[in-house]
Structures are given as structure tokens and as C-alpha cells.
Subunit: 404 residues, 2 copies
């Protein structure tokens, strides 16, 4: 019999038992790369900018020709022409001359600074006066100042932001190698379940886990495949699980609150590969099963949607992230607990909470409800964890909230 | 001439000048509701659960029949039958009897508690012994404990999480009223711009703002419409802006770094409706124009992608959120600055940063680069704001980071 593991043990087990999928890379157009996981590091292949540019509207010249000038004694320079936006500056500036350049315009050979137009005066006779001395490099961006060939722009595993998409556009990367969206089978079990669009009869409840897990997987960037509701029947469950495992990269089973169904799920998973885990010391979420067929995770979540949600968040998404080679960093928001909260379980305890601002403070109101479902899910902004050795938190305690 | 406004003044102006769109609601299937903005508050229309349920595997009975029992002197109760999952319990329990109920099973009339199976012994003769006294309500969830008809589940304006989707499934809401995705026109201007998939010639650069803004709008839940690159030509720009304004709910123009183009954009916006703003006291991002044609925002962003990105994040997305009736709360992550940072501008200063963990600490490394583009966008995790009256921040200062 497998023992109940602590959350840290489960995460360590996931790291050793599952490897990133070898065939996970696919190429997508840049326009579809937002939110995807970068499969390989991206390096620049060219210089950005590709030419020396001015950062101001003004005159490109040699700084030395302006040394010592002032409002009283301007440096007088003949204007040799102007640089147009979008065109090169393929001429060489002679000593003592200047050219007009717009912001972003190319700087001709021979010039080593740009003087802002505000510090010049146009005498109307083909010359200008410069009132403030320049310095070499002033108001210029040099070729490759931003990036140069070979410079790493983005690391593998990064979840691409809109800003990353902009940067990829800037270096002309219009096709991006990303981890494909994993296909994840979702199966709900339970004789009491009816689909969400059905009216539950006596003793029946709606299947919440399928839409919940489907939405969580979608938000994570996976591709959920719904296998519907299976009644508590071992041969039927086995066929469904085997089909889902054949068609998907991972399978999540939820429900089966009765001991018989849990044992059946264990037997099926064991026969398909290896049972890795039977129970996690976390509240809620203890009755969790984890196994694998080859590198394919087979997971049995608790039937209660709140428990299923937390276990999916804490363990299943990190596992899928690992298969995708995804950066697993999760940031938390610090908030102040609005009321004291007991925890005396010897198990890590997960609490959903609602956030609200009061003046400068961000407050976290723990969601309390007797095995509640809607009230624990709807309107919650995130969750925090109370460690197993903590007997509870006082009102005003700082908690680290993971946002949904 | 309009004056330069502070960021707070701009946000206040947005609140008074733009109203939520009256025709913004559309109905979508629950499976497509993730990430959408709820257009109306949702209240439950039924009881959840709809029947009294057990939270344990065990026996439903009257608590009074177990008072005073113990391991030594069990309460002996005849088992009148069992409740099956997914079926009602439409019989009344007689005094002194019990029935077997699985976790989640219905509780028959007459029973007022459920005793965990672990505290009972099956004598095999149709009776069980209860070793631990029950109490009324013990291990039960009553009808409507979670929600009842009329109880508000989710407020209008909420961006729906996966957990909200689960809650909506639980109350049978399979169609959800959400704000439609706003159509937002994106136009880049500049003679120097080429599309990202083109190789820039001398003096040319790739158009970064179109893919950047498109991705930002997509991530925000809007529907970007790309109108391509327009050269610096007033009649052409006017035609493009008018077309985009006719076809979209809002238009974002970016670039036009030359004074002439900016003046042209102001003239065009003024003639189409009203010019509201010419310049924001924020660095980077000062040369921002904002106007409206009716309730349709017409926005001119700076040409530099980093400035365009910050202005879009700080002002354009909140404006679009207001048209959609979206909850505007933004949470920040607290991090420690890795190096001191100057700011001496009399303008609010926005800094991109990268986050990394070091032991227990979360560190924010400001991205520094001379008017850089890729290095300021790629790989940044978010940004923080230095207020206008602050002259800089020392190494180790706590900053509030808005995540991308």
C-alpha cells in the first residue's frame, strides 16, 4: 500500500517521475504565440537597430564642431541637407557641416552626435546656429545598442507575454517554436452526476468538475478533451480511461467518492502502468491518486469540486507544465487576513479567499463554508496555503495569495 | 492648446468622458465564458445542494439515539437499508433505526446526523454498533447550505475565472451574459516602418507596435483589427482613421514621431469629434493624444514601442475596460529593488523589471537600456511606477510590480 505523501514530496516525485515530452515543439505564426510556452531559447540574428539613429528631432553633426558654443556665441554650421524617415543616410558629413535628422532617423557617417532642434536657430540662409555644445554619442543609439546577433532574447520555457511578442516582431521572428498544447482527457465519475444543462433529479447533482477542469486546463494553455460522465462501473471506467490515455497526453479522472470506485481506479491505473501515489496530506484534497502509463500521467482527483480545484492547481498544472517544459514560477500577492483562521490538522491547508482594497491595504477575506461548493469557488480571487505545522493564523496576519 | 495632464488627471478624465457601451452584452455558452467580463450580476435560481447530503461514508440516524454511547457501550441500531448515490431517500427513518449513506448521498427524513463508518461496527446480523455519539447536523450539508434562490453568486464586471465557470455550472447556468469583445482598430504610422516579416532596408525599422498592441488587446479580451502601416500623409491618415472609427469601437494610432504627423493626427481627431488630451506627464509616454468621436475613443500613442506599451497598459486598457463595464482592480506583487534607480523628472516614471527569487526574497531588477526596445520588452515580467515627487529609489526599496 502506498503512503500518503506531503505536498513537497508529491512535487519532488513529479519532478523525478515525469520528463518534458520529447516531441513537444511546434511552430506557430507570431500572431498566435501569445500565452504559449517557448520551446527553445530565442537569440537575435541581426542588429537592432541596424543603423545609428537619432533619438531627437534636430541636427546631426560632429560634437567637436560645437565645443565651446553658447547662447551668446553659437556655433554656426552649414546645413548639408536632411535625412528622411525610412531612408538611409549614405553620404559622409564633412567637417563643420550638419544635416537635419528626425527622431529615429539615420545618422550619416562623420556625425557623432545629434543636437536637439530646441538648442538651434535656423538663420534661413542655409546655416544654423547651435547654442549648446554636443558631446560624442549624445542623443544617438548606435547599431546593435539594443541587440546584436547571438544575443539571447528569451529563454526556453517562458510563457510569452504581449511584450515578448513585440520583441519577437522587432527581430523579425514571425514564426515561433512553442510547446504544443497538451491534450488532456477529462472524465467525471459518479452515479449521482448529471450534465450541467440537465435538471438534477432526487439525489442527483450537476457535474461541476468537467467544466471546472476544462476551464482550468484552457486557461493553462492545454487542450482539454471531454470524455463525459462515467457511472461507477469498473469495466466501463477501464474502457474510458484506456481510450483517453491512448488519445491524450494525460488523463484526469475525478469523483468516485465511494471506496469501491477509488479502489477500482487504483487497480486500473496499476494495470495500465504504475501507481505512484495514493493520498496527499493536504486539506482539502487528500483522496488523490496519481499514476502513469509510460510518461502519460493518469490522475484521480477528489470528487468535491473545491478539492479537485486545489489539487489541480497545486499538482496537476505543475505536472503538465513539466511535460511542456514550462517555467513554473508563480507569483503571489501579499494581503492581510480579515479574520483569524484555525488550522490544526497536521496537513497543509488550502483556503480560497476574496481580495479587497481598504485604503492602502489589500485585505484577504477567507471563504468559509461548510463543505460549500459555489460559495468556495465563485467570486474567489485566489488561495493561500497554511503550512502543516501551523495551528492557525490570527486576524491581520500577512498571507501570500496565489491569484486564480 | 491642451495642457499636459498627470496620470491621475487622465484616469479621472477617462471616467467622466467615456461611458460603458449600452449595447455591450452578448450571451455565450458556458464553455466559452472563461476570461470574459460578466455583463450582469448572476444570482442562483435554485438550492444547492437541492437535498440534505452526507459529507461522510457512514450511517444516517437520529443523534438522540446515539447519545451516551462509547467504545465500551455502543448504541445498537438496526440498519433499515442503504441510500444509493444518485437516488433520492424518499422514505422516513423510524426512531432507533439507521441507514447506510455514501459521501454525498441523500439523507432520509427523520435522520439528523451521519456517523462516520470508522466509528461503527457491523455485527452482521442487520444491526450496527455506534461507538461515538452524534450531534444534530453532524456530517450533514443541508439543502441550500451553499446557495439558495436569489443569492448573488457573481457581481457584474467580474472577469470570469475557471472557478467561476465551475460555480456557474453548479447552478445550471450554461449560457452567460458577457460584455462583447470590443473591436479595436490598430494603425501604425511612419515612413520608416516595414512589416515584421520584411527585411528592413537602410533607415527602416520593423513595425513593432502593431503586433505588440494586437497581442496586448487579445490578452485583455478585446478583438484587435489591424489596419496596417500608413505613411506620413495627412489625407491618407484621415481616411484610415475614419474607416477604422466606423468599423470599430475604438482606434489606436501609434507612431508619427514627427511634429507634423502629430499635429495632423490632432487636426483629424478634432474634426472627427473632440480632442481631450495632448500629452501625459509620464516617462516614457509623454506624446500621447486622446480624443473621441461620440463615445468612441481615438488614441494616438507614442511611436517608441516601450512608451506605446506603457501608455496602453496604464490608460488605454482601463479605458477599454470602462467601455466593457469591467472590474478594474489590478493586483501587484511586492519585490525588492536590486539596484538604486534615479528619477528626477517631475513626471511619473514607469520602469520595466525582471523578477527573480533569491531564497525567500522576490527581487526586481529594473531593465535599463538607452532607449532600448527589445531589451526593455523581452523577458520583462512587469513594471513599477515611481511617483513624480520621488527623486529615485535606493537599492533594496520595496516596489509594487504590476505583472504583464
Amino acid at each position: 500500500m502506498l503512503e500518503v505523501k506531503t505536498p513537497a514530496e508529491v512535487l519532488a516525485m513529479i519532478r523525478t517521475e515525469f520528463a518534458p515530452l520529447p516531441d513537444r515543439t511546434e511552430l506557430v505564426p507570431l500572431a498566435e504565440a501569445l500565452g504559449r510556452v517557448l520551446a527553445e531559447a530565442v537569440a537575435a540574428e541581426e542588429y537592432v537597430p541596424d543603423f545609428d539613429r537619432s533619438t531627437v528631432d534636430g541636427y546631426a553633426c560632429r560634437a567637436a564642431d560645437t565645443f565651446g558654443c553658447s547662447d551668446a556665441i553659437p556655433a554656426i554650421l552649414p546645413v548639408a541637407g536632411q535625412v528622411l524617415m525610412g531612408e538611409g543616410a549614405d553620404f559622409e558629413l564633412s567637417r563643420g557641416e550638419c544635416v537635419y535628422v528626425p527622431t529615429g532617423g539615420a545618422i550619416p557617417q562623420g556625425a557623432d552626435c545629434a543636437v536637439m532642434i530646441e538648442y538651434t536657430e535656423d538663420y534661413g540662409d542655409g546655416t544654423i546656429g547651435v547654442m549648446k555644445p554636443g558631446a560624442p554619442g549624445m542623443n544617438l543609439i548606435f547599431r546593435g545598442d539594443d541587440v546584436f546577433p547571438g544575443k539571447e532574447i528569451l529563454p526556453a520555457g517562458r510563457v510569452l507575454t504581449a511584450q515578448d511578442v513585440g520583441a519577437l516582431a522587432a527581430i523579425g521572428r514571425t514564426t515561433v517554436p512553442v510547446a504544443r498544447r497538451l491534450k488532456v482527457g477529462v472524465i467525471s465519475t459518479g452515479d449521482e452526476l448529471v450534465p450541467p444543462d440537465a435538471a438534477p433529479g432526487p439525489g442527483q447533482v450537476r457535474d461541476v468538475n468537467s467544466p471546472l477542469l476544462t476551464a482550468m486546463l484552457t486557461a493553462f494553455g492545454a487542450q482539454p478533451v471531454n470524455y463525459g460522465i462515467v457511472v461507477d462501473d469498473e469495466p466501463l471506467l477501464r474502457r474510458k480511461l484506456e481510450t483517453a490515455a491512448r488519445e491524450c497526453d494525460a488523463v484526469i479522472l475525478s469523483g468516485g467518492s465511494s471506496v469501491g470506485v477509488k479502489d477500482a481506479a487504483c487497480r486500473i491505473i496499476e494495470s495500465m502502468g504504475k501507481l505512484l501515489l495514493h493520498g496527499i496530506a493536504v486539506k482539502p484534497g487528500k483522496p488523490t491518486i496519481m499514476g502513469k502509463a509510460g510518461n502519460k500521467p493518469l490522475i484521480g482527483l477528489p470528487g468535491h469540486p473545491v478539492a479537485a480545484c486545489f489539487v489541480a492547481q497545486l499538482f496537476v498544472l505543475p505536472l503538465l507544465g513539466q511535460l511542456m517544459g514550462r517555467n513554473q514560477e508563480a507569483y503571489t500577492v501579499t494581503a492581510e487576513l480579515t479574520e483569524s483562521l484555525g488550522a490544526n490538522h497536521g496537513r497543509e491547508q488550502i483556503n480560497a479567499c476574496r481580495l479587497r482594497r481598504e485604503g492602502d491595504k489589500l485585505l484577504a477575506a477567507p471563504v468559509r463554508s461548510k463543505s460549500g461548493l459555489i460559495t468556495q469557488l465563485a467570486g474567489a480571487d485566489g488561495y493561500f496555503v497554511i503550512s502543516r505545522d501551523c495551528e492557525g493564523l490570527p486576524k491581520g496576519a500577512q498571507v501570500q495569495v496565489y491569484l486564480y
